[in-house]
Each structure stands twice: as structure tokens, then as C-alpha cells.
Symmetry: C2
Subunit: 302 residues, 2 copies
Amino acid sequence: MSLLVVGSVAFDALETPFGKVDRTLGGAASYFALAASYFTPVRVVAIVGDDFTDKQRAIFKGRKIDLTGLEQVPGKSFFWAGRYSQNMNERTTLATELNVFADFRPALPEPYRDSSFIFLGNIDPTLQSSVLTQVRRKPQLVGLDTMNYWIDRTPTELQETLKHTQILMINDDETRQLTGEHNLLRAAKHVFKMGPRTLVIKRGEHGALMVHHKFMFSVPAFPLEEVRDPTGAGDAFAGGFMGYLAAVRRVNEQSLRAAMVYGSVLGSFTVERFGVERLAKLKRSEITARAKLFSKLTSFKL
Amino acid sequence: MSLLVVGSVAFDALETPFGKVDRTLGGAASYFALAASYFTPVRVVAIVGDDFTDKQRAIFKGRKIDLTGLEQVPGKSFFWAGRYSQNMNERTTLATELNVFADFRPALPEPYRDSSFIFLGNIDPTLQSSVLTQVRRKPQLVGLDTMNYWIDRTPTELQETLKHTQILMINDDETRQLTGEHNLLRAAKHVFKMGPRTLVIKRGEHGALMVHHKFMFSVPAFPLEEVRDPTGAGDAFAGGFMGYLAAVRRVNEQSLRAAMVYGSVLGSFTVERFGVERLAKLKRSEITARAKLFSKLTSFKL
């Protein structure tokens, strides 16, 4: 089943203790799409400038990602520059240039309008909603990411979009900010009243927690000896998660648990190299092997 | 199999957003012993002053804990006072009065000298070593806890004690400080060179990670709607962990994984009430039930 993602496709300048890259392919939708592409066909709705060339396009094409919905306009693409501290636990944003992204109005190409699995990346909630109004039927599954900026500035619009969302995927701080509740289980109950039936809390190096009104599921981050660049890990997690669900076409407790593991698998590969380098060139066998390592990492007999 | 613990038995004054208690039973060895007592007979080596009365003694006796090794001397018991922030993620120490603990010289009563499962609580490494020299045979398992104070001030003595330790149980910061290595897997390799074959990294609300030279195991903290008092959770974790191993008398991959779960179970109960209140009055059936909930929380099918 095709999976539609709307979000940012960008250029990133990244600096970590392991090195530095200038103007590499970045953006949440890029990480998401590449990760999801190992499970299901992916359709991208995003905007880029004329600095987006065949070189970047080839990265998506290498994973057979549908770029019909990638609008290209005169001007520069979204650009983000960041630097990580020695221990990677702090990140300083050096530059955020919205460029053509400032005028992004997602428009779904006709063939995308039958999409039934949709991920609304972290953009203005009004634009997220506009994607949902363009699909022909009520989707089977809508996942959503957001951030402090939208929680602060556009709470009403965000609440409206959340009414049509089944799975909210955010981090601990965002969960607390959105609900005004520090305890994550109590926060989840607030979220359930807003619309989503499922809250996935992404916790970076501490893994992820899913709270559904009928069950909870916790998955650790995969312990790695070398984390070279944490950028995009959360977006790749979301891509692996949604990609798996779209592939099995079933959203139930068992598939949601497995989706959490595949999300973590894709997140763990992402951080092993800079930018999308590792994510763009995985083998399905590597994904399967690492998913089995998650079983070993977490299984026990009482 | 009896389990010997050496460490602090104290009075704590605790303040959290859920309430306040003055002079309640505290100390790492108290939490450890109570938690372990649900699995195996426990022997305590510690020191208290004449303010330690039948009231506190009854809490241990209620769990059939052997206090032959609890030395009582004139003066006051170790006293600690602490206050937790609104979200419980920060703790301010308001008072630390060593009192009779300052002159603690652990002396094993004759019947304790056959102990084969030993936990060296967080005290001066020289005193930790002195316990090992008093047992008759090489123990089957020695677990050890320590903290930044000893890592800083008595590194040579700590290294000597670690040579005789199989399992080191500390938190992330202590792991990083001890090894000078931020990455926890690389840090574990340093620890293996110091003596222990197994490193258990306690991560509070983020659970615990075990790194053994042949496998890794990760367990989440149990998500709770109300955490009333985080004091002693790590010590109760250690008690549940070591207690389980002493009960099954086998230290292998399977038992170590289960021990991590039982440690987490005991830690999770501890924080539900103030001080040792919950820990002192558990039912074995509650422990079994929560351990099964850990299976539900972490299990998946790919």
C-alpha cells in the first residue's frame, strides 16, 4: 500500500565530532521517505528550489520513491545548519533558512489522491490539514509529527488536525508541552481526547514508548559503539514505523509493536553515517538482521 | 542461597511534590535488603546509632532479614535529607550527616563468613574489599555499586575492589566518569578490563542496560502514572537483581536477563510510595504479576 508523506526536503550542513558536511540532502521527509521505502512504495509531497538537482533526485530514485508531488520552484531550497556537541547530547542550530519552503502549499497530484496511509511531517498544522482535505476517502491511517513551535503558535489549528490523526509521534518534551502534563501516561490520556488513539513518544538514545489506550510497548534504542550523526533518526524512525504498517496494511496491536521495532531499526542505521548516507543504501537483509538483534536485546524468560 | 549486603542503613527526610516525611527508614542497604528478601534470605552488614529502635528493626524482621551483622553503637545513625523538584527530575540534597557511619568498619559475624552471593553497596572501596577478605571462600558472585565520590577520591582502591567484582551496577554518569568514555558500549569494554564481566547501567526512568562481553540486554522502566518518591529505586533494583540470582543460584545469560526484569519490578514498586513503605509490604503475587507486565510491555513478533 502506497504511503504518502508531506514535509521538508532540504539541504543540511552538519558538524559532529566525527566530521563535517556541507549541503547534503536533508529534511524530515527525505529521511522518512528513504526509511519507509524499504517496506512500501512512497509518495513525497514537498517543495524544493532550483538548487535541487539530479544528484539529490537520484538518491530518491535509487529507492524508487515517487517524486511526482515534489514541487520545484525558482529560488533556494530549505537550508539547515547544525552542530553537535562533543557527546552529541546537545545540538546548536547555526542557520535555518526557509527559502522556498516559506511559501509551501502542499498540492497532491491526482494519482496521490487515493492514498490511504499518510504521514503529516512537522509543518504548519493548517498545511497538514490541507493534505487530508485533498484525499478522496478517509485514510486508513494518519500519522503526525509536530514540534514546540506549532504547539505554541498554532494550538487551535493543531487541535483541528489532531482530530483527524490516529497516531501522534513526538518526543517527551513535545508531549509534555502539548498536554501540560509531565507524566507521560497521564499525558497520553490527554492526547487520546484530542483524537489520536496512539501516542508514540520518541526518546532518542532512550528508545521509544508507545501508549495505546489498551496497551503499552517500549523499545530501546539500539546500543551502538559509534554514533556519527544523530540527524534524522526520529524521522527515519517514523518512516520505518509507517512504512511497515503500510506494507502489512493492518493496524493492530501486533503490527504496531513490530512497527516500533522497525522504526528503531531504521533510526539506528541512520545515525551510523552522516546525513542519509547509510539510509539510502541499506539492504533488506541488514534490516531483517538488526530487527532480530532487537529481539535478542529485549527478550527474557521469567 | 543467602545474600549478604554491606552498605548504609539510615534515616531519611524526604520531600517530593506528593508529600514530606521526616526520619523514615532509608539507606541503600535497607532498600536493597527489603527488595532482595522476596527472593532469598538476606544478611545485612551495616552500622546504626542508638536512635535505631525496634520500630525500624520490625521493618526488617517483617521480611525475615538477618540483622546479626547490624552493629549498633552510641550516637546517631546516618541521616540524609533531600528534596525533589516538581517533575522529580532533579534532587537537592539538604543534609548529609554521616554520624556513626563515619567510623563504620564492616565486621562479618561468624555465620556470615560462608556467604557466596555478596553485594558491596556504595561505601569506601577499602571497606568493600575488607568484606571480601572476611569470607572463607571465593564467592560465587560479587556485585558492586559505587559513586562519583569514590571514583574521584579513591580510584586506586576502587580498581583493587573491582578486580574481585563480577557485576558492576552504576548509572550512566558514573560509567562515563569511571571509564573516561562517553559511549556506553566502549565504556563497558574498559570496565571488562578492570575485572567485572558484566556492567549493569541503571538509567532511572529510562530503565537499565546490561552489557556482558557476549550479549546485551535492555529493560525499560515500568511506566507509572504516579511516581511519589524516587528515593531508593536504584538500590531496590540492585536488591531484586541480586536476590533473584542468589535464589536461582545460577549466573548465566538467562538468569541475568530475568534478574534485570526482577530488579526493574522492585524498583518500580519502590517509587509508588514514600521511602520503603511499598517495598516493605509487597506480596509475591504482585511481583509475579508485574514481571508478566514487563513481558507485555516489551514483547513483539516480527
